[in-house]
Symmetry: C2
């Protein structure tokens, strides 16, 4: 594994057990040597599941499987391998999925469509099904609810990430305390080959699949869909959210139920925490950038403008150099394709107002902005001045490290 | 000026005179020292003009002026300064445009809206109008139809380009020979600050403004709108096309007139030649990439897929490394947002079929592809297998040079 990102959090958080969730991981030798590359999460019968997936038209075989299985909304196991994405692998790739799922269903004596699968790593080479299938019986036997299993699971799904990413939150539903744990991987598209953003969330709350899906989709927009490292979209992006239902709160059937307010807030916070960790492990990233867009035509427009800034190679290279080049932010706003008015736009960096009303502010002093740009945490604020939509987007700088990582040969 | 791009053509072509076009350039000290930074093209009375401009919502004051002037469709002069883009300069910037245009109109005794203006360079600082205005009388006096003036004009509009870009073609309209000359600048967004793609085209053909606009808009899609260096869109992009009407061919009023076939073809070829020169001067570019997309749902969809490939940082870093990483091309096709079917997609690099029917071809031998990737001219072919739309897009690789150029401070 490469050097830990300079933007990484100090340590992996302590994730408490969640009743109904057991985890295990092992090294089955798909691609990496002496490194865990297979993770299994086992869920008690009755666990509901929701998911969101890549919008790519060239998505991998595991994504096809999950999208189809999700119609049922039940889950007994999630199987994730790293090192091979099983994408663009044709019929052979679909067979790997089928064999894995069949084996797991046989071990758990459940339906095949209660098994979910994700793969991340090299593209275009079908993974060796026998390595995955062969490892499953021992992994299932080893599955545990111990707290230590979370970190091991988070490590087993990594590819070229430089640190394991986890988060936990609690909330109360109608007076009953519930927990949400999550872990994820991804640092843009990861060298030495295209990789992926994967995230797995678990709660003991008792929420039906349709409601879970509604909560996940909404929170996903404000978290994983609001980050960017390089603007490239993986063929395998997957977020799964499992609710075991062991918490004994009263039945809730609507996502808008006020009793879910704290849960929604905790889910948002957890997913934003995980999403930010992905940016903090962005390939070659040296600076973590928060882009707040206010007074856009809509929240969607605000996010599009934020992503245009966060994805712009010119903005990202200026950030890398610590250059307060706000003209490039103006450019990125202009190219976003959303409603904007040059003469109503205001731009702040590190809290300092730089430009408004179509030009730089009189007597603009670059010194405090230049000082802010030297740090590892950059704040950009853009006020479009035309509506009520707001969004926050997180990104990182574009450095020589990105090119070194992604320009390397695959083997 | 930086070292000449390794992808540059051997020399600037010989551009013949065009009756009714006179050119001059000078160094007026806007930003650069001892370097021509002001270009003027003078056109005979009766010259028609067409134009296409950046779609940016934060476009510069000169673009606002040109878009408005274009309603009249007549031109007597084009004034271009390099070193300052006069963008996001508020009221002061608009005044610079007004003063320049008023001075030029007084010198030529014409209407102000017959004067066109472009600016390229630093953003957010109004240029010194007196330097531009003060230089105009002498420049107008010096204007000449000599062949040597073309190269000098092409040099005067450069910012951090590493070579001057020009092209010429001839065609026959109804048996009468006409000439088209053009020159342009731009290498993506150019350091040390955001810059611009500018192009100026001139012909002695006698074509009304509306027809000229139709021809320009169509050819622009297949040329300047089919190239990418970094996917960032300038606030100042401008292409102007002037027709002096001195050629004595019969009147043509429809762009679809078969007598215009050769002219359309020559215009296409000239604009593609110029557009390719811009890519060949892409910031840090070491490889010139041609991306041919076939059998897409439409020509527009094909171009969008081609641009998704050409803009992908992962594809571009793989190209820089000479890595035949075709999985990243699959990824870029998938994220383009256009209709695509993983299992109908075929990918070739340097003519070698790599993948089709959802997976790599049996016995795929990477050796010839790896050999092709070592060269400076890369060919990527993508067959979507779903429709009849085709497009060709030109791009370049993403190298450490790009980051060095764009990560540098502005001063």
């Amino acid at each position: 594994m490469a050097d830990r990102s300079p933007l990484a959090p100090e340590r992996f958080p302590d994730l408490p057990p969640i009743v109904g969730v057991r985890l295990a991981s092992t090294a089955c030798g798909i691609r990496y040597k002496e490194r865990r590359d297979l993770m299994v999460a086992l869920l008690d019968p009755g666990t509901a599941i929701a998911g969101v997936f890549t919008k790519s038209k060239t998505r991998g075989a595991p994504v096809d499987w999950c999208r189809n299985a999700l119609k049922r909304g039940k889950v007994r196991a999630i199987v994730v391998n790293s090192g091979n994405s099983n994408t663009f692998t044709g019929r052979a790739g679909a067979q790997v999925v089928e064999r894995t799922v069949a084996k797991m269903a046989a071990l758990l004596k459940c339906e095949k469509r209660d098994i979910y699968i994700s793969s991340t790593g090299v593209i275009g080479e079908p993974p060796a099904a026998e390595k995955i299938v062969g490892a499953l019986p021992a992994v299932v036997r080893a599955a545990t609810a111990d707290a230590s299993a979370w970190r091991a699971a988070a490590e087993a799904i990594l590819t070229t990430d430089t640190f394991a990413k986890g988060a936990t939150r609690t909330a109360s539903i109608d007076g009953v305390r519930v927990t949400i744990n999550g872990f994820c991987k991804g640092s843009g598209m990861i060298a030495p080959d295209m990789a992926t953003m994967l995230a797995y969330l678990f709660t003991d709350a008792a929420l039906p699949a349709a409601l879970l899906q509604e909560l996940l989709t909404a929170a996903n927009e404000r978290s994983f869909n609001s980050i960017t490292v390089d603007g490239d979209t993986s063929t395998s992006d997957t977020v799964l959210f499992c609710a075991t239902g062991h918490a004994r709160h009263k039945r809730v059937t609507s996502a808008r139920d006020p009793r879910l307010k704290a849960f929604r807030r905790a889910l948002d916070a957890l997913m934003i925490d995980l999403a930010q960790q992905i940016v903090r492990d962005g390939e070659g990233a040296q600076k973590f950038v928060t882009i707040r867009v206010a007074r856009a035509a809509s929240a969607k427009a605000a996010r599009a403008v934020g992503l245009a800034i966060g994805n712009s190679p010119l903005v990202k290279t200026a950030l890398a150099a610590g250059d307060a080049n706000w003209g490039r932010i103006v450019m990125a706003v202009g190219k976003a394709g959303e409603k904007a008015d040059r003469d109503k736009l205001a731009i702040r960096i590190g809290g300092t107002l730089i430009a408004e009303k179509g030009g730089p502010v009189p007597g603009y002093d670059e010194a405090p902005v230049a000082e802010h740009m030297k740090g590892g945490e950059i704040e950009i604020e853009v006020d479009l001045g035309i509506g009520r939509g707001a969004a926050t987007v997180w990104s990182c700088d574009l450095t020589h490290g990105y090119i070194d990582i992604n320009g390397g040969y695959r083997s």
